[in-house]
C-alpha cells in the first residue's frame, strides 16, 4: 500500500515536471531558453507515455499474452527465428530503424522555430509513431513474422499489398536521392570532407576483407580497427586540406560529386555484400550509437542555450529552406522521429522473428521508437543552438538568398536574423572549410551545431575536427542507407520482373543483377542530378516528396492495424490506430493539395513549371539557367504526378480498409483474420529471464 503510494507520487512528480518543462518551452517568448528544458519535457512525456499509454495498449488493446509461444520459440531454426534476450532485440531493432532521417528532418524544420517541430516530434511519436511500430510488431508476431505487404494483402485484399510494395520502392528511390544530395552538399568544394568520405570506402573494404579472410567472423576486432582508421581519416583530411597539390584532387563541384555518388551507388549494389555493404554497416552502426550517446552526454553536460526563436516568420510559408506554411509542412518535413512508415517494414521483418516473449513488444516496438524520437529532439537542439542567422546562412540555397556572400547575409539579416560576412568567414575558418554558405540539406548545419556542442563540452580547440567527424559520421550511414536501399530496391524490382520473365527474378543471375541495379540507381540518380542542378536546392522539392511518401507508408501500416483491430472484435479500440491514421491522411492530403495547386512557385509544382516555362519563352533567363530549364520543368511536372499518385494510393488504401471494416461490422464476409493459433509457451516456466 505504502509502496503503491510512493510510486503514484513519483509518477505524479514526473507529470508535474513534464507539464512544467513543456509549458516552459511552449509559452516562453523573447528570451532564450535552455536546451535542458527540451530534454526534460521529452524525457517526462516519454516516461509517462511508456508507463501508461503503452502499458494500456499492451494490456487492453492488443492483450499481449506472455504465455503464448512466439514464432521464434515455435520455429527456432537458429537462423531467422531465434528467441533472443529483449535487450539484444532492442539493440537490433533500434539500429535498424534509426537512420539519417531523424537527424535531417528536424534540422530542416527548424526554419519554423524550435517549437512546431519539437511538439510534433513529441506528440507524433507518442500517439502515432510508437503506436504504429508497436501494433505492427504485434500483428506481425501473431502472424509468424509476416511482412507488412503480406499482412495488407491477407487482411485487406490485394490492393493494400500492391500499394505497400509500390510505396516502399518509391520511398526508397526518393530517400536515396535526397540523402545523396545531402552528402553532395556537404562535400562540394570541401577537400577535407570529400577525402574523409572517400577514405571510408577503402576502410570498409579492408574491414570486409579482415572479417572474411584474415580473421573470419571476428566482427568486433574488425570494427574496432575500422573505427580507428575512420578517426585517422578525419585527421588525415586536415592534412590533405592543407596540402596544395593534394587538395585539388578532392576539390569538386556538386555535379561532379553527384556523378561520383551515382557511380559509387551502382558499384556498391553489384559488388558482393561482404566487400562494402556489410563492413560499412558494422562501422556505421557503431558510429551511430556512439555519436548519439556522445551527443546526449554533451547536451546534458553543457546545457546549451537555444538561440532560435520559438516561432519564426517563416511559419507563413516563405521559408528559405523549403516553401510551405507550418501546417501541413512541419508534419511532412519531420517524418522519421515522429511517425515513420518505413519502421513498419522493420517491425514486420526481422524483429518479430527474434522475440522470445510477447511482453517484449511494448519495450521494443514502443520503446524503440521513443528512443528514435529522442534522437530527433537532439537533432533539433543541435540545429537551434546555432545563431539563427548562421543557421539560415548555411541552409539557404543560393537561388533564394543570392550567390555572393554579401547578398546572402543582407537578405538573411533583412529577415531579422542578423549575420555578417566576417562571422560566416570566421566560422568557416574555425570549421576548416572555405565557405559554409548554401550547404542546404541539414548535414553541415547539424555538424556545426554538433561541433559547437562537442567543442564546448570536450575542448574548443578541435572544432574543425569535430565538424569533420560529424560530417563523416553522417556520410557513413547515409552511404550505408544508399547501399542497402539500392539493394532492397533491386530485390523488389527483380521480384517484380521475375513475373514477366522468370530468369530476371533470379537474384544470382548476373545480367539481371546488373540490369535491375542500373534501373534503381538510374531512378534515384535522376532525382539526385536534378536536385544538384536546381538553383533553389533540390532539398526544397525532394524532402517534402520523401515526407509524403513515408507518411503514406505509415498510413498503410495504420490502416492494416485498424482493419485487424476491427476484424478481431476490438472496434471500440480502433481509435488507437485510427486517430494517427486520420491525422496522417489530413496532413498528407493537405500537403499534396498545396504542392499541386499552390500559385507560389516555391510550393506548387505546376506553378513552378509554368513560371519557368513562361520565363524561358520570354528569354528572361540567363543562359546557364535557360540551359537546364527544360529539365527542371519536366521534373516539376513529374513530381506533381508522383505526389498525386501517392495521395491517390493513400486514399485507395484507407477506403479499402473502411470497406472491409464496414462489411465486417454489418456481418458480411471479409478476408479472414490470419492470426496463428495459440500455442502455450514452454520458455516461460523453465527460463529465468534477465
Amino acid at each position: 500500500m505504502n509502496n503503491n503510494f510512493t510510486r503514484s507520487l513519483a509518477w505524479f512528480m514526473v507529470a508535474i515536471l513534464g507539464a512544467f518543462a513543456l509549458s516552459g518551452i511552449a509559452l516562453n517568448r523573447g528570451e532564450s531558453i535552455n536546451a535542458i528544458w527540451l530534454i526534460a519535457a521529452a524525457a517526462c512525456i516519454y516516461a509517462l507515455a511508456y508507463r501508461f499509454y503503452a502499458a494500456w495498449i499492451a494490456a487492453s488493446v492488443l492483450t499481449l499474452d506472455e504465455t503464448r509461444a512466439t514464432p521464434a520459440e515455435r520455429y527456432d531454426d537458429g537462423r531467422d527465428f531465434v528467441p533472443t534476450n529483449r535487450w539484444i532485440v532492442f539493440g537490433h531493432h533500434f539500429a535498424a530503424i534509426a537512420g539519417p532521417g531523424p537527424l535531417i528532418g528536424p534540422t530542416l524544420a527548424a526554419q519554423f522555430g524550435y517549437l512546431p517541430g519539437t511538439l510534433w516530434i513529441l506528440i507524433g511519436a507518442v500517439l502515432g509513431g510508437c503506436v504504429q511500430d508497436m501494433t505492427t510488431l504485434f500483428f506481425s508476431t501473431r502472424r509468424n513474422g509476416r511482412s507488412l505487404g503480406q499482412m495488407a494483402r491477407d487482411e485487406l485484399g490485394p490492393i493494400g499489398g500492391i500499394a505497400a510494395l509500390v510505396g516502399t520502392l518509391m520511398i526508397m528511390v526518393i530517400l536515396i536521392a535526397v540523402l545523396g544530395l545531402v552528402v553532395v552538399n556537404a562535400m562540394k568544394h570541401s577537400p577535407w570532407a570529400t577525402s574523409t568520405v572517400a577514405a571510408t570506402i577503402p576502410i570498409a573494404m579492408l574491414v570486409g576483407l579482415y572479417m572474411r579472410n584474415i580473421r573470419p567472423g571476428r566482427v568486433l576486432e574488425g570494427s574496432i580497427i575500422g573505427l580507428g582508421l575512420l578517426l585517422l581519416a578525419v585527421a588525415g583530411g586536415r592534412w590533405i586540406n592543407d596540402d596544395a597539390t593534394l587538395r585539388v584532387i578532392f576539390d569538386h563541384e556538386g555535379l561532379t560529386l553527384a556523378w561520383f555518388v551515382i557511380g559509387y551507388g551502382f558499384l556498391a549494389a553489384i559488388l558482393p555484400v561482404w566487400m562494402l555493404l556489410a563492413p560499412r554497416d558494422y562501422l556505421s552502426t557503431f558510429m551511430k550509437l556512439g555519436t548519439i550517446l556522445l551527443l546526449a552526454i554533451a547536451i546534458i553536460v553543457m546545457q546549451p542555450e537555444i538561440r532560435m526563436p520559438a516561432l519564426t516568420r517563416f511559419i507563413d510559408g516563405s521559408g528559405p529552406i523549403f516553401g510551405g506554411s507550418v501546417f501541413p509542412f512541419v508534419f511532412i518535413t519531420i517524418a522519421c522521429g515522429a511517425v515513420s512508415g518505413f519502421h513498419a517494414l522493420v517491425a514486420s521483418g526481422t524483429t518479430p522473428k527474434l522475440l522470445a516473449n510477447e511482453r517484449d513488444i511494448r519495450m521494443i516496438g514502443y520503446g524503440g521508437m521513443l528512443l528514435e524520437s529522442f534522437v530527433a529532439i537532439m537533432a533539433m537542439i543541435a540545429a537551434t543552438v546555432l545563431d539563427p542567422g548562421v543557421f539560415f546562412a548555411i541552409n539557404s540555397p543560393a537561388g533564394v538568398v543570392g550567390k555572393a556572400a554579401a547578398d546572402a547575409v543582407a537578405t538573411i539579416s533583412s529577415w531579422g536574423f542578423p549575420v555578417t560576412v566576417e562571422q560566416m568567414e570566421r566560422l568557416a575558418h574555425e570549421m576548416g572549410e572555405a565557405t559554409l554558405f548554401a550547404r542546404t540539406g541539414g548535414a553541415p548545419s547539424l555538424a556545426v551545431g554538433m561541433a559547437s556542442i562537442f567543442g564546448s563540452a570536450f575542448g574548443q580547440g578541435m572544432l574543425a575536427m569535430w565538424y569533420h567527424f560529424a560530417i563523416m559520421f553522417e556520410a557513413v550511414f547515409i552511404l550505408t542507407t544508399l547501399d542497402a536501399g539500392t539493394r532492397v530496391g533491386r530485390f523488389m524490382l527483380q521480384d517484380f520482373l521475375g513475373n514477366l520473365w522468370p530468369r530476371l527474378g533470379r537474384t544470382s543471375w548476373y545480367p539481371s543483377v546488373i540490369l535491375s541495379s542500373a534501373l534503381i540507381v538510374a531512378a534515384w540518380g535522376y532525382f539526385l542530378y536534378i536536385g544538384v542542378i536546381d538553383p533553389n536546392g533540390g532539398v526544397n522539392i525532394l524532402w517534402p516528396l520523401f515526407g509524403i511518401s513515408n507518411q503514406m507508408l505509415a498510413a498503410i501500416a495504420l490502416s492494416v492495424g485498424t482493419g485487424i483491430l476491427v476484424k478481431s472484435g476490438k472496434f471500440r479500440f480502433a481509435w488507437v490506430t485510427g486517430i494517427p491514421l486520420t491525422w496522417l491522411a489530413i496532413i498528407t492530403t493537405a500537403a499534396a493539395w498545396e504542392k499541386l495547386t499552390s500559385d507560389d512557385v516555391r510550393i506548387g509544382f505546376f506553378a513552378a513549371a509554368n513560371d519557368l516555362a513562361a520565363k524561358l519563352a520570354d528569354g528572361a533567363l540567363p543562359p546557364e539557367k535557360a540551359a537546364v530549364a527544360p529539365q527542371l520543368i519536366f521534373n516539376q511536372q513529374l513530381d506533381a504526378w508522383l505526389t498525386l499518385f501517392f495521395v491517390l494510393l493513400l486514399w485507395i488504401i484507407i477506403l479499402d480498409m473502411l470497406r472491409v471494416c464496414s462489411r465486417h461490422l454489418r456481418g458480411k464476409p471479409v478476408p479472414p483474420c490470419t492470426e496463428s493459433a495459440h500455442e502455450p509457451s514452454r520458455l516461460v516456466e523453465n527460463w529465468v529471464r534477465d
Binding site: 579472410n213 571476428r218 519502421h343 526481422t350 537474384t507
Partner: protein, 56 residues
C-alpha cells in the same frame, strides 16, 4: 559490470554468432557436420542482406 556487458556487446554485434550457431547445431542436428567458421560467416552475411535491414 564489464562481465555482463561484454556478452551483450558480442551478441549485438554478431561477434559470437558462430559459437551460437555451433550450440544450436549440436542441439538440433547433432548427426550432421557443422560448417567451418569461415563458411558459416560467408553464408550468414550473404543471407542477412537479402531483405530490409536498414531504415531511413
Amino acid at each position: 559490470m564489464w562481465q555482463k556487458l561484454w556478452p551483450i556487446l558480442r551478441q549485438l554485434s554478431g561477434d559470437d554468432a558462430y559459437e551460437r550457431y555451433l550450440a544450436h547445431h549440436a542441439k538440433a542436428h547433432p548427426e550432421e557436420p557443422a560448417l567451418a567458421r569461415k563458411e558459416f560467416f560467408q553464408r550468414e552475411q550473404e543471407r542477412k542482406w537479402n531483405g530490409i535491414r536498414r531504415c531511413c
